[in-house]
């Protein structure tokens, strides 16, 4: 797929929504929906995505759309998919339809994890997409279990004693993969080709599929609108957000950054880590984060090479 070809694909998430300038999720959704061939039914958890794209009487969604509460989009789409399967069996519908559930990291890592796990275990043929912007941004920037260690949020405030969020993020992609579903992958909105390819695979999977897509939030991360793609790319290059996929149980790296790109460089691009650099650099803390990122990367590489 070349970029000009992508541009020719029909767009199912159109402009005019009220997301911030430089927001990452519209790019994420647009590319994913462009990879869908069948008619699409979208379920969407409460969050920025739903709030900014569906303010009645307007919508950005050129497809069927249903909103759910914060915790249950996977359950709502399970219900739709189950009804569809039943109608198809009865011969009352013959179309092939693609079902997608969208949720942010708050609605997926935290409050929606139970519904997601249930849907994966039951085996509904749906694609669950988590657009991970590493925090509760719609409610004014609170920490989530996807927020990186050290980030300043309103509920993990950086002060003299505590330098922002204390915990490392949850490894959701691995948790999802442990359900043994046909396809799970981690991607980033900075890598459109990787995202498009993985969305294609997810739609083609024979059973539940999952995409965890890093999506910049310029307000929550403290970055300039024009840097949205670069910051997401920095997360990938620094190996903090590796691109990989798990296909029928096989782990595979999608990208191996060539040059050494320290996590520090990625952090220094963002206002939410400012306290780690000013008034003086918190060397030990940053080193600790770097070594955790290195250890997780090595573990991932081991998993991927063991499978090949």
């Amino acid at each position: 797929m070349a970029l000009p070809d992508l541009a020719k694909k029909p767009v199912r998430f159109i402009g005019g929504h009220r997301a911030c300038a430089g927001c990452g999720f519209p790019i994420t959704i647009k590319i994913i929906l462009q990879a869908a061939e069948n008619p699409v039914i979208v379920g969407c958890a409460t969050g920025c995505m739903e709030v900014t794209s569906t303010i009645y009487p307007y919508t950005s969604w050129e497809c069927s759309f249903i909103h759910s509460a914060f915790e249950n989009v996977a359950a709502t789409v399970s219900g739709i998919e189950a009804a569809y399967t039943s109608l198809k069996r009865q011969g009352r519908i013959d179309k092939d339809i693609t079902f997608i559930a969208f949720g942010g990291d708050g609605g997926t890592y935290d409050i929606g994890l139970q519904a997601l796990s249930g849907a994966l275990e039951r085996g509904h043929k749906m694609v669950y997409v988590c657009y991970d912007n590493q925090g509760y941004m719609n409610t004014g920037i609170q920490r989530s279990s996807a927020t990186p260690r050290g980030a300043n949020t309103t509920t993990s405030p950086a002060g003299k004693k505590v330098p922002g969020k204390q915990q490392y993020p949850k490894d959701l992609t691995a948790i999802v993969a442990a359900h043994g579903i046909p396809y799970a992958a981690q991607s980033s909105m900075s890598h459109w080709n990787d995202l498009y390819r993985k969305a294609k695979k997810a739609f083609a999977a024979d059973g539940p599929a999952f995409l965890n897509v890093l999506s910049t939030c310029r307000l929550g991360w403290g970055t300039a609108p024009e840097d949205t793609v670069d910051v997401a790319d920095g997360a990938v290059q620094s190996r903090l957000w590796p691109l990989y996929e798990i296909e029928k149980g096989k782990w595979k790296l999608s990208l191996k950054p060539r040059r050494h790109y320290p996590v520090e460089k990625w952090m220094s691009m963002q206002g939410r880590f400012r306290h780690l650099f000013n008034p003086q650099k918190n060397e030990t803390f940053i080193e600790e984060i770097q070594s955790q990122v290195d250890a997780k990367w090595e573990e991932l590489v081991r998993r991927c090479s063991a499978e090949t």
């Binding site: 915790e71 609170q142 509920t155």
Partner: protein, 354 residues
């Protein structure tokens, strides 16, 4: 913040500060608009006051953290807004049955469903009628100003401990988001854990916190015991405000934000010669039945105003037991009625009185 001079504060932040000053030791919450300033403030200031702040992974988790901390004898609270409070109902039912004290703040937003983030009073029934499953009640207090929200929050911890029952403060998005001048109460030290807290038997009887009663007659006794406390509340905890109710021939019943808007309209109507007064319940449970009956003694008609499709109006009717006709006017969906609009309604009701 140490001085007691008046300061300008946002409702949500003032409530959080009042809770810290009341000796709140633990706060558990989850993000939802329009109350995010409460957890944000708690995250920043409660640890500095020696307390604990934790963000839960859901409201379901938050209320059960409250359950655990209350059982351990800690002064504990949570806050949320309508959809989040709905998720807490199971936990509140357990807490009420297990007789644990806690404070829950609901900054009500419009519903049903995801609704909107604008102010509403449509959680009245959920708050005062039990909300979750089983026979239980919350002690429900509804402030109308930021100062009153501060005073009520400050008092609510001791009320919760007195009755070993959850206290709910029913505000709305308007109260949470507006800034007003407040005088903050003095800082109180948290008490030592009560003698029922599960901090070890200390040579006494085992301390048991439980809400499971398999045998019918034992469960029934529990219900009767809990309701004896509610009867006690009805004696001692009724709160209300009367505004020109003496000789009022048209009585307005309204609570919270709606009541203060109604006051402006009432002042204008009185200037025009309409004998109208306001009865403002502050305790929504226990509901001020007797006081309302007295206030309505000379009324030809009672108008209930709410930011809902009509919920408190049912309790107004139950209180008055058919003595006076009761009519209703409400705005919903987050629409806040204007004084002009209420004045028009006062005219209509007064002109059409029987």
């Amino acid at each position: 913040m140490t001085t007691n001079a008046a300061k300008l504060m946002k409702g949500n932040e003032a409530i959080a500060e009042a809770a810290i000053r009341a000796g709140c030791q633990a706060y558990f919450g989850y993000p939802i608009t329009p109350q995010n300033e409460i957890p944000d403030y708690m995250a920043k200031w409660l640890p500095k006051a020696g307390g604990v702040f934790l963000q839960a992974e859901s409201e379901l988790a938050a209320i059960n953290m409250v359950y655990g901390a209350a059982g351990a004898g800690s002064r504990v609270m949570t806050s949320s807004s309508s959809p989040g409070i709905s998720l807490m109902q199971e936990g509140l039912s357990y807490i009420a049955c297990a007789e644990l004290p806690c404070v829950v703040i609901n900054m009500v937003r419009s519903g049903p469903g995801l609704g909107g983030i604008l102010p509403a009073q449509s959680d009245y029934f959920q708050a005062v009628k039990g909300g979750g499953h089983g026979d239980y009640k919350l002690l429900v207090l509804a402030p109308a100003t930021v100062q009153e929200a501060v005073d009520i929050t400050y008092a609510s911890f001791q009320l919760a401990e007195k009755y070993r029952n959850p206290v709910m403060i029913l505000g709305d998005g308007l109260l949470g988001q507006m800034m007003e001048s407040v005088t903050l109460p003095k800082v109180e030290s948290p008490p030592s854990p009560p003698d029922w807290a599960t901090t070890g038997r200390q040579k006494g009887k085992p301390r048991i916190i439980n809400s499971l009663y398999i045998e019918g007659d034992v469960m029934e006794k529990r219900n009767q015991h809990i309701f004896a406390k509610y009867a006690h509340m009805a004696e001692d905890e009724v709160r209300f405000e009367k505004y020109h109710t003496d000789g009022a021939r048209l009585l307005v019943a309204a609570y919270g934000s709606t009541a203060r808007i109604a006051k402006t309209a009432i002042d204008r109507a009185r200037a025009e010669g309409i004998p109208v007064g306001l009865f403002r319940p502050i305790s929504l449970y226990p509901f001020p039945n007797d006081a309302l009956r007295k206030a309505a003694a000379e009324a030809r008609v009672v108008l209930t105003l709410e930011m809902s499709m009509g919920q408190m109006v049912d309790d107004v009717r139950l209180s008055l037991e058919g003595r006076v006709p009761v009519v209703f006017y409400g705005r919903t969906g987050g629409v806040v009625p204007t004084p002009k609009e209420i004045l028009k309604e006062l005219h209509r009701v007064w002109e059409n009185r029987a």
